[in-house]
């Protein structure tokens, strides 16, 4: 029960993270053609929100560590290069908003914009790859007794390619690029919502909502087909057994998840189409946001519920991770559950501050004045 609760929290954090990747999606547009003022507007708008995405990533990692330490240990230590590239891209992002327009930044604004774009592309794609591994697995083994051997004490061993193999796996990349185009779609929706007084910019963004949304929809449908026809592992009677269509079965078993998935997809499509064909509607980000959050939650839940291996091992089936065999102890999960009571308060003050800060659309004049 506690394990299921914490997997749900992980799913919610994952959902929040994917929604907030609109920051990265926006960054990926910085190197595209556009006027200088458009670029400054985009940076000004994203610069007020990037820390939320960044913090959500940190909390996502921390929560995974606290609740499912064997995943933290196996995936991070194993898929070393995948995670290191993700981290590097976020490190470069963290300084770029503050440094890019400052005098004396040494490397020039262009370099920091390149960092932002690098994080925009690689942050999204590689996080998508990391999430896809929850379905399509990794090449690892887990032998807890290794810790008794001083000469070779490591319990989680990964393929020598250490995550590079996951980056070049087409199934993982399918989700990776779906996340990337989703982030760009969300970014365009966010800009329309946040930036005012620039009709040509808004019109440009409406076009981007359509083009990026279309690519996302195609990639996501392809991913869903691959996912729902995939074979996964389920823990039954003390061992893992392969089960064709496991995620489809999970979706059908938990019918309410299928409903949420469907509603989520409809909300995203509604946001894309209404924004594209309306000249004044600015609320697309919220429909898309809630839709995306719902869909991502469902994906996480069907990956981990029902004894499903949420990190299947392609090397040794019995080393696969489930929410039962990789979790923290009951004591720790209980303690952390008390802490999780604070989450609604955290969400409340974030929402309050967001509403205050976004009460009026951002204008070019305000961006100019805000050389804090």
């Amino acid at each position: 029960m506690l394990q299921a609760y914490w997997w749900l929290l992980i799913a919610v954090l994952g959902a929040a993270l994917v929604f907030l990747l609109f920051v990265q999606g926006g960054q990926s547009m910085l190197l595209c053609k556009g006027s200088d003022i458009e670029r400054r507007l985009m940076v000004g708008s994203l610069g007020r929100k990037w820390e939320l995405t960044y913090t959500t990533l940190v909390v996502f990692g921390g929560a995974f560590f606290a609740s499912f330490p064997l995943f933290y240990s196996t995936s991070f230590g194993g898929a070393y290069w995948l995670w290191m590239l993700i981290l590097l891209s976020f490190v470069l992002q963290a300084v770029s908003y503050e440094f890019r327009s400052r005098k004396g930044n040494i490397y020039g604004t262009g370099v920091y914009d390149f960092f932002l774009a690098f994080n925009g592309l690689f942050g999204c794609v590689l996080l998508g790859v990391a999430v896809a591994m929850l379905f399509f697995g990794g090449e690892f083994t887990v032998v807890r007794d290794n810790i008794l051997n001083p000469a070779a004490p490591v319990i989680s061993q990964w393929a020598p390619t250490h995550g590079l193999e996951a980056i070049v796996c087409w199934k993982n990349l399918l989700l990776g690029f779906a996340v990337f185009y989703l982030a760009r779609t969300l970014a365009a929706l966010y800009f329309i919502n946040d930036i005012g007084g620039e009709p040509s910019f808004t019109a440009h963004m409406r076009k981007r909502v359509f083009t990026n949304g279309l690519v996302f929809a195609v990639l996501f449908v392809a991913f869903l087909v691959v996912l729902l026809t995939a074979t996964g592992l389920r823990f039954v009677d003390g061992s893992f057994v392969a089960e064709p269509y496991i995620y489809l079965h999970n979706l059908l078993s938990y019918w309410y998840l299928a409903v949420i998935l469907l509603l989520g997809v409809v909300a995203v499509l509604y946001a894309i189409f209404r924004t594209t064909f309306s000249k004044t509607w600015r609320g697309g980000i919220w429909f898309a946001g809630f839709g995306v959050a719902g869909v991502v939650c469902v994906l996480f839940l069907i990956a981990g519920y029902g004894g499903t291996a949420y990190l299947p091992s392609l090397t040794d089936q019995q080393s696969s991770l489930t929410i039962a065999n990789s979790s923290s102890s009951e004591f720790t999960l209980t303690t952390m559950s008390y802490v999780s009571i604070l989450i609604p308060f955290v969400l409340a003050y974030i929402a309050y501050v967001w509403a205050k800060m976004n009460a009026k659309p951002l204008t070019a004049e305000e961006v100019e004045q805000d050389a804090h």
Binding site: G47, T55, G61, W83, W158, S328, H372
Partner: protein, 520 residues
């Protein structure tokens, strides 16, 4: 085995690199957050726009520094997984909780309200903006608190038990983890030290302004706030530093011996006020110093408040030797015996595994009992010789002494600065004092970094005191991979540091040419 050593060394180097860079930025963030909040409070209470502009000046410097601290912090958290995967499993049940709480309780608070600090001047009320500045200051302290609790637990593992079925430690007392004496001391010590850096940074920048004869009144007012924060910080740092040393003597006596370069302890042990260790000091344990100025009975008095008490040295601890109040030499558990017990635990764990496979519950229970009985010595089973349990003595010794000298200097400077700032402000403009003010910034950074070197090097070879040596905590990756990421991060962090310093200097220089108080 060579690969193992390579991975351990490079992983340690990478973690040290990240931590040391992180600690360049974080204390400044913590210190400046408080100072900025105080300055804004003055503005709100007096309604004087001058203080608003002074606040904005320091807030900009805070913002430039904040970003790099955030960037290096991300790497630190994830390195526990990427480079210390065994550690993450072995104690993740305990260690992960503070990190998650840090994120939920502190990071979101920082991230949300720091945006209001920077961009909310014209969007929210004065009161709400002030509250945001204070919440940011509180948030950075809360963040520090949870990560320091986590670090303290590594130095003094409490509130947990070992579960042989899962081959890992599990938490059984959260409050023992969160409120351990090491954690409490460490938190107040680190945060107070950050206030010192914040205060001294304000002093340094303001001194430069005065040296250039620009914005002198702004500089003087800033020093008034900064020096008080710094003085409170340094007094608290000294007090908690002493508390930390006392706790170290109880839970990490080897660290205490190393930081004093003490091989053979004695009753009425002196403390080294100044000294240089012999290069091969371990070969002359009775006389390890090339030369030194000692304070007789100083160490005994400082640690035990009794000048005649016995302080064990490195060789005493290895041999399990102590001298009682009556003057009798008594032998307890030697490190060799601890190693034997550690190996017994390993064997009992192997027996537990065999019994589990055959379903022999009686044998499982017997093995589990054997594990529980001597688990406190589990880590010693990994050592090849008792000397492996000795940290690098030279580095610990010099780090400790440098920290103390720098701290003493800062105490003196801050005492004088507060006096000048509040009662003799004309002295603040003297060239000699401005130079001291600028140089003090370096001293504050050196002090903080030396403190962390002592804390982390002094506890080697343990990643978890007595339970897990560093070389058992690693990930199964190639040394070349870690070597490559080490150099990538070294390059990136250095480039970012250079950019930050350059931006700060340019900003200070540019702002100094205008009237900071009126923002014109």
């Amino acid at each position: 085995m060579n690969d193992l050593i390579g991975v351990v060394d490079w992983s340690r180097a990478q973690f040290a690199l990240t931590a040391m860079y992180h600690w360049l930025f974080v204390p400044l963030t913590i210190g400046l957050a408080l100072i900025v909040a105080i300055m804004e409070t003055i503005y709100v209470r007096t309604g004087n726009e001058r203080w608003k502009n002074i606040t904005k000046f320091w807030m900009t410097l805070f913002g430039i520094n904040f970003a790099v601290g955030v960037a290096t912090g991300l790497i630190l958290e994830f390195e526990f997984g990427t480079n210390w995967s065994n550690y993450s499993w072995f104690v993740g049940d305990i260690f992960g909780a503070p990190l998650a709480i840090e994120g939920i309780v502190a990071f979101f608070m920082e991230a949300t309200f720091v945006a209001v600090m920077f961009f909310g001047w014209n969007k929210v009320s004065k009161g709400f903006h002030l509250a945001s500045s204070w919440l940011t200051a509180v948030g950075v302290c809360l963040s520090a608190m949870w990560i320091l609790i986590a670090n303290a637990w590594m130095q003094y593992p409490v509130g947990m038990k070992f579960d042989p079925a899962q081959m890992r430690n599990v938490m059984d007392d959260f409050f023992a983890v969160a409120l351990s004496p090491v954690a409490v001391n460490k938190f107040f010590h680190a945060v107070a030290c950050s206030w010192v850096l914040g205060g001294v940074f304000v002093l340094g920048v303001s001194s430069w302004l005065m040296l250039k004869r620009r914005n002198i009144e702004v500089a003087k007012d800033s020093i008034k706030v900064g020096s008080v924060v710094g003085l409170v910080g340094i007094l608290a740092t000294c007090y908690t530093g002493h508390g930390s040393a006392v706790v170290v003597s109880e839970v990490q006596p080897m660290k205490l011996a190393a930081m004093e370069g003490l091989y053979e302890g004695s009753v009425g042990q002196s403390i080294v006020a100044f000294g240089v260790l012999k290069p091969d000091a371990e070969k002359t344990p009775d006389d390890p110093m090339l030369f030194s100025i000692d304070i007789p009975k100083g160490l005994s008095y400082l640690i035990y408040a009794d000048g005649d008490s016995f302080v064990p040295g490195i060789n005493d601890l290895i041999a399990g030797r102590t001298i009682t109040a009556e003057g009798d030499t008594v032998y307890g558990q030697s490190y060799e015996e601890k190693m034997a017990l550690g190996m017994n635990v390993r064997k009992a764990l192997a027996d537990y595994g065999m019994a589990k496979k055959t379903g022999d519950e009686a044998a499982m229970k017997a093995a589990a009992d054997a594990v529980a009985k001597d688990f406190d010595n589990f880590g010693y089973g990994y050592l090849e010789s008792p000397e492996d349990a000795v940290p690098p003595v030279g580095m610990s010794f010099y780090a400790f002494h440098i920290m103390v000298y720098a701290g003493g200097l800062l105490l003196l400077v801050l005492l004088v600065t507060v006096w000048f700032a509040w009662y003799r402000s004309r002295y603040l403009e003297k060239t000699w004092f401005c130079v001291i003010g600028i140089l003090s910034v370096a001293a504050a950074w050196i002090c903080g970094e030396a403190g962390w070197v002592l804390a982390e090097v002094g506890r080697q070879p343990w990643v978890i005191q007595n339970l897990m040596p560093t070389n058992a905590a690693i990930s199964g990756i190639q040394p070349s991979s870690v070597q490559l990421t080490f150099w990538i991060f070294a390059l990136v962090f250095t480039a970012l540091l250079i950019a930050e310093v350059s931006i700060m200097l340019r900003y200070i220089s540019r702002a100094s040419k205008s009237d900071i108080a009126t923002n014109h």
